[in-house]
Symmetry: C2
Amino acid sequence: MATESIQAIADEDLPYDVFARNCPSRHVLKDVTHAWGSLTLAALQEGTFRFNELRRRVDGVSEKMLSQTLHALERDGLVHREAQPTNPPRVEYRLTDLGREVAERLRALIELVEGQLPQMLDAQRAYDAREV
Amino acid sequence: MATESIQAIADEDLPYDVFARNCPSRHVLKDVTHAWGSLTLAALQEGTFRFNELRRRVDGVSEKMLSQTLHALERDGLVHREAQPTNPPRVEYRLTDLGREVAERLRALIELVEGQLPQMLDAQRAYDAREV
DNA sequence: CTGCATCCGAAAAGATACTG
DNA sequence: CAGTATCTTTTCGGATGCAG
Protein backbone atom coordinates (compact mmCIF):
# COMPACT_ATOMS: atom_id res chain seq x y z
CA MET A 1 0.00 0.00 0.00
CA ALA A 2 1.31 3.41 -0.89
CA THR A 3 0.74 4.89 2.53
CA GLU A 4 2.78 2.17 4.14
CA SER A 5 5.81 2.70 1.97
CA ILE A 6 5.71 6.43 2.68
CA GLN A 7 5.49 5.67 6.37
CA ALA A 8 8.36 3.19 6.08
CA ILE A 9 10.58 5.75 4.44
CA ALA A 10 9.62 8.35 6.99
CA ASP A 11 10.67 6.15 9.86
CA GLU A 12 13.99 5.01 8.48
CA ASP A 13 17.00 7.19 8.95
CA LEU A 14 18.09 9.83 6.54
CA PRO A 15 17.51 8.72 3.03
CA TYR A 16 16.18 12.26 2.81
CA ASP A 17 17.55 14.34 0.02
CA VAL A 18 16.21 17.78 -0.72
CA PHE A 19 17.52 17.47 -4.23
CA ALA A 20 15.09 14.67 -4.98
CA ARG A 21 11.84 15.74 -6.51
CA ASN A 22 9.37 14.27 -4.06
CA CYS A 23 11.39 14.18 -0.90
CA PRO A 24 9.30 15.43 2.02
CA SER A 25 12.28 17.39 3.27
CA ARG A 26 11.91 19.60 0.24
CA HIS A 27 8.36 20.48 1.18
CA VAL A 28 9.35 21.38 4.70
CA LEU A 29 12.32 23.35 3.46
CA LYS A 30 9.95 25.26 1.27
CA ASP A 31 7.81 26.20 4.26
CA VAL A 32 10.88 27.31 6.13
CA THR A 33 12.53 29.28 3.36
CA HIS A 34 9.36 30.75 1.97
CA ALA A 35 9.50 34.53 2.06
CA TRP A 36 6.94 34.99 4.83
CA GLY A 37 7.86 31.76 6.56
CA SER A 38 11.46 32.75 7.05
CA LEU A 39 10.60 36.22 8.29
CA THR A 40 7.95 34.86 10.63
CA LEU A 41 10.35 32.34 12.15
CA ALA A 42 13.01 35.01 12.51
CA ALA A 43 10.54 37.35 14.16
CA LEU A 44 9.36 34.71 16.59
CA GLN A 45 12.94 34.15 17.63
CA GLU A 46 12.58 37.45 19.44
CA GLY A 47 9.87 36.11 21.68
CA THR A 48 6.16 35.51 21.90
CA PHE A 49 3.83 37.43 19.66
CA ARG A 50 0.15 37.88 19.25
CA PHE A 51 -1.27 37.75 15.76
CA ASN A 52 -1.41 41.45 15.10
CA GLU A 53 1.87 42.12 16.84
CA LEU A 54 3.46 39.67 14.47
CA ARG A 55 1.71 41.29 11.60
CA ARG A 56 3.22 44.64 12.51
CA ARG A 57 6.65 43.12 13.03
CA VAL A 58 6.68 41.37 9.68
CA ASP A 59 6.03 44.51 7.75
CA GLY A 60 3.95 44.07 4.63
CA VAL A 61 2.51 40.66 5.30
CA SER A 62 -1.19 40.41 4.67
CA GLU A 63 -3.52 38.92 7.18
CA LYS A 64 -4.22 36.08 4.86
CA MET A 65 -0.61 35.16 4.22
CA LEU A 66 0.36 35.42 7.87
CA SER A 67 -2.49 33.15 8.76
CA GLN A 68 -1.50 30.61 6.11
CA THR A 69 2.14 30.84 7.07
CA LEU A 70 1.44 30.27 10.75
CA HIS A 71 -0.68 27.26 9.98
CA ALA A 72 2.03 25.73 7.83
CA LEU A 73 4.67 26.33 10.49
CA GLU A 74 2.44 25.01 13.22
CA ARG A 75 1.76 21.93 11.17
CA ASP A 76 5.49 21.37 10.72
CA GLY A 77 5.93 21.49 14.48
CA LEU A 78 7.95 24.70 14.43
CA VAL A 79 5.44 27.08 15.97
CA HIS A 80 3.23 26.63 18.97
CA ARG A 81 -0.14 28.34 19.02
CA GLU A 82 -1.83 29.04 22.32
CA ALA A 83 -5.33 30.43 22.39
CA GLN A 84 -6.62 31.82 25.66
CA PRO A 85 -10.42 31.68 25.85
CA THR A 86 -10.74 35.22 27.10
CA ASN A 87 -12.77 38.00 25.67
CA PRO A 88 -11.39 39.55 23.61
CA PRO A 89 -9.50 36.46 22.50
CA ARG A 90 -5.77 36.36 23.06
CA VAL A 91 -3.72 34.09 20.86
CA GLU A 92 -0.01 33.75 21.31
CA TYR A 93 2.52 32.29 18.96
CA ARG A 94 5.96 31.10 19.96
CA LEU A 95 8.63 28.81 18.62
CA THR A 96 8.86 25.18 19.63
CA ASP A 97 12.29 23.77 20.52
CA LEU A 98 12.65 22.58 16.97
CA GLY A 99 11.47 25.90 15.65
CA ARG A 100 14.11 27.63 17.71
CA GLU A 101 16.84 25.56 16.11
CA VAL A 102 15.54 26.32 12.66
CA ALA A 103 15.18 30.01 13.48
CA GLU A 104 18.76 30.19 14.71
CA ARG A 105 20.08 28.92 11.43
CA LEU A 106 17.80 31.19 9.53
CA ARG A 107 19.01 34.08 11.62
CA ALA A 108 22.61 33.23 10.77
CA LEU A 109 21.68 33.37 7.12
CA ILE A 110 19.82 36.63 7.49
CA GLU A 111 22.68 38.23 9.37
CA LEU A 112 25.09 37.24 6.68
CA VAL A 113 22.87 38.71 4.01
CA GLU A 114 22.36 41.92 5.95
CA GLY A 115 26.06 42.19 6.65
CA GLN A 116 27.17 41.57 3.09
CA LEU A 117 24.42 43.57 1.50
CA PRO A 118 26.65 46.42 0.27
CA GLN A 119 28.71 43.90 -1.71
CA MET A 120 25.59 42.39 -3.17
CA LEU A 121 24.15 45.74 -4.12
CA ASP A 122 27.42 46.60 -5.83
CA ALA A 123 27.23 43.33 -7.71
CA GLN A 124 23.71 44.15 -8.77
CA ARG A 125 24.68 47.56 -10.04
CA ALA A 126 27.61 46.13 -11.98
CA TYR A 127 25.38 43.46 -13.46
CA ASP A 128 22.68 45.92 -14.43
CA ALA A 129 25.18 48.32 -15.99
CA ARG A 130 26.64 45.50 -18.07
CA GLU A 131 23.28 44.35 -19.35
CA VAL A 132 20.61 46.95 -20.32
CA MET B 1 16.81 63.10 -5.23
CA ALA B 2 15.40 59.68 -4.54
CA THR B 3 18.23 57.78 -6.15
CA GLU B 4 20.75 59.54 -3.99
CA SER B 5 19.08 58.74 -0.74
CA ILE B 6 18.87 55.10 -1.70
CA GLN B 7 22.53 55.17 -2.57
CA ALA B 8 23.31 56.90 0.68
CA ILE B 9 21.56 54.22 2.69
CA ALA B 10 23.28 51.51 0.71
CA ASP B 11 26.68 52.86 1.55
CA GLU B 12 26.13 53.44 5.22
CA ASP B 13 26.51 50.60 7.63
CA LEU B 14 23.71 48.30 8.63
CA PRO B 15 20.48 50.16 8.92
CA TYR B 16 19.30 47.09 7.02
CA ASP B 17 16.34 45.33 8.47
CA VAL B 18 14.70 42.46 6.68
CA PHE B 19 11.56 43.10 8.65
CA ALA B 20 11.11 46.44 6.96
CA ARG B 21 8.94 46.40 3.92
CA ASN B 22 11.25 47.91 1.35
CA CYS B 23 14.63 46.99 2.72
CA PRO B 24 16.86 45.72 -0.07
CA SER B 25 18.07 42.95 2.23
CA ARG B 26 14.63 41.47 2.02
CA HIS B 27 14.82 41.24 -1.74
CA VAL B 28 18.18 39.53 -1.61
CA LEU B 29 16.99 37.21 1.11
CA LYS B 30 14.12 36.28 -1.11
CA ASP B 31 16.50 35.30 -3.92
CA VAL B 32 18.51 33.23 -1.48
CA THR B 33 15.67 31.49 0.28
CA HIS B 34 13.52 31.03 -2.77
CA ALA B 35 12.79 27.35 -3.33
CA TRP B 36 14.94 26.94 -6.42
CA GLY B 37 17.46 29.52 -5.32
CA SER B 38 18.28 27.71 -2.10
CA LEU B 39 18.57 24.34 -3.81
CA THR B 40 20.72 25.78 -6.57
CA LEU B 41 23.11 27.39 -4.11
CA ALA B 42 23.29 24.20 -2.09
CA ALA B 43 23.98 22.18 -5.22
CA LEU B 44 26.72 24.53 -6.37
CA GLN B 45 28.39 24.07 -3.02
CA GLU B 46 29.35 20.66 -4.31
CA GLY B 47 31.38 22.12 -7.14
CA THR B 48 31.14 23.45 -10.66
CA PHE B 49 28.18 22.53 -12.79
CA ARG B 50 27.11 22.99 -16.35
CA PHE B 51 23.57 24.09 -16.98
CA ASN B 52 22.09 20.68 -17.65
CA GLU B 53 24.14 19.00 -14.97
CA LEU B 54 22.64 21.43 -12.51
CA ARG B 55 19.25 20.77 -13.92
CA ARG B 56 19.62 17.08 -13.25
CA ARG B 57 21.00 17.71 -9.77
CA VAL B 58 18.16 19.99 -8.79
CA ASP B 59 15.53 17.47 -9.63
CA GLY B 60 12.31 18.89 -10.95
CA VAL B 61 13.44 22.37 -11.82
CA SER B 62 12.31 23.56 -15.23
CA GLU B 63 14.70 25.12 -17.73
CA LYS B 64 12.98 28.42 -17.31
CA MET B 65 13.15 28.52 -13.54
CA LEU B 66 16.75 27.39 -13.43
CA SER B 67 17.66 30.04 -15.95
CA GLN B 68 15.85 32.75 -14.02
CA THR B 69 17.29 31.57 -10.74
CA LEU B 70 20.86 31.56 -12.03
CA HIS B 71 20.44 35.06 -13.42
CA ALA B 72 19.17 36.34 -10.12
CA LEU B 73 21.99 34.71 -8.16
CA GLU B 74 24.57 35.93 -10.62
CA ARG B 75 23.15 39.42 -10.31
CA ASP B 76 23.43 39.23 -6.54
CA GLY B 77 27.10 38.32 -6.86
CA LEU B 78 26.65 34.82 -5.48
CA VAL B 79 27.21 32.79 -8.62
CA HIS B 80 29.88 33.14 -11.27
CA ARG B 81 29.00 32.24 -14.83
CA GLU B 82 31.72 31.31 -17.27
CA ALA B 83 30.89 30.70 -20.91
CA GLN B 84 33.47 29.05 -23.12
CA PRO B 85 32.96 29.95 -26.77
CA THR B 86 33.30 26.40 -27.99
CA ASN B 87 30.91 24.39 -30.08
CA PRO B 88 28.86 22.96 -28.55
CA PRO B 89 28.77 25.78 -26.00
CA ARG B 90 30.04 25.01 -22.54
CA VAL B 91 28.84 27.20 -19.68
CA GLU B 92 29.98 26.61 -16.16
CA TYR B 93 28.45 27.88 -12.96
CA ARG B 94 30.23 28.07 -9.65
CA LEU B 95 29.86 29.95 -6.38
CA THR B 96 31.67 33.19 -5.69
CA ASP B 97 33.35 33.64 -2.30
CA LEU B 98 30.26 35.36 -1.05
CA GLY B 99 28.08 32.67 -2.55
CA ARG B 100 30.07 30.06 -0.70
CA GLU B 101 29.39 31.75 2.62
CA VAL B 102 25.71 31.95 1.88
CA ALA B 103 25.63 28.34 0.71
CA GLU B 104 27.30 27.16 3.89
CA ARG B 105 24.61 28.69 6.04
CA LEU B 106 21.94 27.36 3.77
CA ARG B 107 23.49 23.95 4.02
CA ALA B 108 23.37 24.12 7.79
CA LEU B 109 19.68 24.88 7.55
CA ILE B 110 19.05 22.09 5.09
CA GLU B 111 20.94 19.57 7.19
CA LEU B 112 18.90 20.50 10.21
CA VAL B 113 15.69 20.07 8.29
CA GLU B 114 16.77 16.75 6.84
CA GLY B 115 17.94 15.54 10.22
CA GLN B 116 14.81 16.55 12.09
CA LEU B 117 12.42 15.54 9.37
CA PRO B 118 10.96 12.54 11.23
CA GLN B 119 9.93 14.86 14.06
CA MET B 120 8.37 17.26 11.60
CA LEU B 121 6.49 14.55 9.77
CA ASP B 122 5.15 13.31 13.08
CA ALA B 123 4.02 16.82 13.86
CA GLN B 124 2.30 17.02 10.51
CA ARG B 125 0.48 13.76 11.08
CA ALA B 126 -0.63 14.84 14.52
CA TYR B 127 -1.84 18.15 13.16
CA ASP B 128 -3.71 16.56 10.28
CA ALA B 129 -5.31 13.99 12.56
CA ARG B 130 -6.47 16.72 14.90
CA GLU B 131 -8.07 18.73 12.15
CA VAL B 132 -10.60 17.50 9.56
C1' DC C 1 -9.10 40.98 18.75
C1' DT C 2 -8.37 36.82 16.07
C1' DG C 3 -9.20 34.96 12.77
C1' DC C 4 -11.65 32.10 8.37
C1' DA C 5 -14.12 32.32 3.59
C1' DT C 6 -14.43 34.12 -0.86
C1' DC C 7 -13.70 36.74 -4.94
C1' DC C 8 -10.60 38.90 -8.24
C1' DG C 9 -6.79 40.84 -10.75
C1' DA C 10 -1.83 40.39 -10.96
C1' DA C 11 2.15 37.82 -10.69
C1' DA C 12 4.74 33.68 -10.68
C1' DA C 13 5.46 28.97 -11.78
C1' DG C 14 5.31 25.10 -15.03
C1' DA C 15 5.37 22.83 -19.55
C1' DT C 16 6.93 22.84 -24.00
C1' DA C 17 8.49 24.39 -28.55
C1' DC C 18 12.03 26.68 -30.71
C1' DT C 19 16.77 29.05 -31.73
C1' DG C 20 21.96 29.95 -31.88
C1' DC D 1 24.30 22.28 -25.07
C1' DA D 2 22.38 26.41 -23.33
C1' DG D 3 19.16 28.86 -23.16
C1' DT D 4 14.78 32.17 -24.81
C1' DA D 5 9.80 32.74 -26.15
C1' DT D 6 5.30 31.47 -25.55
C1' DC D 7 1.22 29.56 -23.49
C1' DT D 8 -1.29 27.56 -19.56
C1' DT D 9 -1.98 26.80 -14.78
C1' DT D 10 -1.28 27.97 -10.08
C1' DT D 11 -0.41 30.92 -6.51
C1' DC D 12 -0.23 35.43 -4.46
C1' DG D 13 -2.05 39.12 -2.20
C1' DG D 14 -5.43 42.72 -1.47
C1' DA D 15 -10.28 43.73 -0.36
C1' DT D 16 -14.32 42.56 1.81
C1' DG D 17 -17.60 40.34 4.79
C1' DC D 18 -18.49 37.69 8.75
C1' DA D 19 -18.02 34.87 13.19
C1' DG D 20 -16.45 33.66 17.95
